[in-house]
Symmetry: C2
Subunit: 353 residues, 2 copies
């Protein structure tokens, strides 16, 4: 197969971790007889510095013409101090989501047995935690009207959802639940919000089409509690954009190994694969960042964008092997020997023969 | 002193736990020479059944004429299945908040040394956790315009804040921080929301008035993570209504003893004191509910509504004694002997002589 992949390495440690994921992907491609054409493009602070905007048209063109996008991370501290700054790296992220129609962010939450001790939660609560959070990514309060009155002493943000938007994401969540343990948790705030009542109506109307799936509705405040109290109680969770932002980050903590966590953003035009961690600017160039989150994002790319299941599985297998054998970066190594970003990437690629 | 207190016991276990808090308050009043006039009033499902609405005018009148309100809990399962039901117990809560001007919900998060093992978090992470969450309670997306288009396939909720609303709550948060460890965390989503940018502007303008306080700004997604990863990092946290709903519930889990947690809602007209737990309908009448959350809410009432600090401290002291001596309900007792709701209340009151 010919795989056309856009590479948006971004800021901070982005380029370093993306490089390792490319290395591993190339090894997989070689073994299985595929050809990967990588097309790099700029985004984030790097793009602001180069052309004045964080998601330039040229970058968007490259993404639109690719079968998938491998993304690193964006954001630099010099943009963080003033959130009202008109041009900011995160705007690139939001523009990309909207323009590529990335309506669903998929985040598996898995716990690695050898890393149970890294979790802030008691090990017995998380041993069997294995769930997927699906966050609506192009609607809600992120993209509704927002503004100020003339005196600038009153501000508003509008949260909006249409039935087709909600239906699309809940259907996607059902297909995940069908392929997993057949339990779907729809998270909303239906006792307060009208948009949540729309979500619940749509859920209730789709339930019938998936009789094998056990559907439950959970208020967002209760969900924030259950993620900590009983993470094993979830299989697939689906929610709107803002709640998803909060709950997926909360859930990412339970594994205790954020640097390992991948994500996929499923799009109408193309899909984007990226680690959940940020640009970690303090670590830039130090060869200490954990590349596994990006490598596992590449595995998701083989699975979701190319339907190449064996290839995806082999990447996951070599990652598990590296964890088992202690070929890991300092965030995971604890008191044991730590390897560099590049060394972990080299080791993983070398396993694929 | 003459203390006029409205008693809104509510639904489920509300009446049982409130009764114990009244018993303890009466013992304190007797010892310190105060007279308490308790005026009961209906609310929640009980009020819907009696007069068709969850926060009747008569109840509001009683609250307005009281120095403080002691509140139990509201909600019953028969109202929960259909969130679009036009009359629901929670609406009583929202009406009460708005009409009494309860603009600030205060929730201390404390960990009881003898109960460290009840927390889902590792004990070493929470031993020294001791922070206060302050949630704005009468603004934001809870009270903004909400609705549907005619076809009912599009819904919206408007989040709105004015500068005076934000200033009032951030100032309150600063007074708490000044009386504590002088650290204030203002939680927002300023990289996406205009209302959050208003919050941040107001924070930045007030900072200068409290130079002794270390002010930090934290994005809500990062806050959801830090509550689990490093709860000891907080002193006072302040945030808007919806974020506060999610984060205070998340934070309430870390102590592992929800039944012990009190709260205060500070009002323009009068203030309301209530446990953070719900109406727990399954336990109604079984004499098993933990009354400590309500008893400690009464302690907050003596402190905040009446400025009777010794009285408040004595309630906290007898509660600590009951925990140390194992005079506790089944949620706390574990494998040890459990006492009934009423027995715990009797024991606490009997200590106050
Ligand atoms: C950077 C920010 C705009 C973004 C979001 O809120 O969606 C981030 O937190 C995320 O979750 O990808
Ligand atoms: C019952 C509900 C409307 C309420 C809220 O969301 O404020 C509750 O969750 C709370 O936190 O007191």
């Amino acid at each position: 197969m010919n795989l056309n992949i856009a590479v948006l390495a971004g800021d901070g440690i982005g380029p370093e971790v993306v490089e390792q994921a490319q290395k591993v992907s190339d090894a997989i491609a070689k073994k299985y007889g595929h050809t990967i054409n990588w097309t790099p493009a700029i985004t984030g602070a790097a793009a602001i510095d180069a052309v004045g905007e964080p998601y330039p048209d040229a970058t968007h063109e490259i993404c639109m013409n690719s079968d998938a996008v491998l993304f690193g991370a964006i954001g630099l501290p010099r943009f963080d101090n003033d959130p009202s700054n008109p041009v900011r790296p995160e705007q690139g992220l939001l523009a990309m989501r909207k323009k590529l129609g990335l309506y669903a962010n998929i985040r598996p939450t898995l716990v690695f047995p050898s890393l149970l001790h890294k979790s802030p939660l008691r090990p017995e609560l998380i041993e069997n935690a294995d769930f997927v959070c699906i966050r609506e990514l192009t609607g809600g309060i992120y993209f509704g009207d927002k503004g100020r009155n003339e005196a600038r002493d009153k501000a508003w943000d509008v949260c909006e959802y249409t039935k087709p938007e909600v239906e699309r994401i809940i259907r996607l969540a059902y297909t995940y639940a069908m392929a997993r343990k057949k339990k779907l948790t729809i998270v909303d705030k239906a006792n307060v919000l009208e948009t949540s009542r729309l979500w619940r109506e749509v859920g209730q109307s789709l339930e019938k089409e998936y009789p094998e799936v056990k559907t439950e509705y959970l208020l967002v405040d209760a969900a924030a509690m259950r993620i900590i109290q009983w993470p094993e109680g979830f299989d697939v969770m689906v929610t709107e954009n803002m709640f998803g932002d909060i709950l997926t980050d909360e859930a990412s903590v339970i594994s205790g190994s954020m640097g390992l966590m991948p994500s996929a953003s499923i799009g109408l035009h193309t899909s984007v694969f990226e680690p959940i961690h940020g640009s970690y600017p303090q670590a830039t160039g130090l060869n200490i960042a954990n590349p596994i989150g990006t490598v596992l994002s590449a595995a998701m790319m083989f699975e979701y964008a190319f339907k190449l299941m064996d290839e995806a599985q082999e990447i996951k297998d070599v990652v598990n092997k590296s964890l088992a054998e202690g070929i890991v970066t300092e965030d995971i190594a604890g008191k044991d020997k730590a390897y560099g970003t590049k060394e972990v990437g080299d080791w993983l690629a070398a396993q694929i023969v």
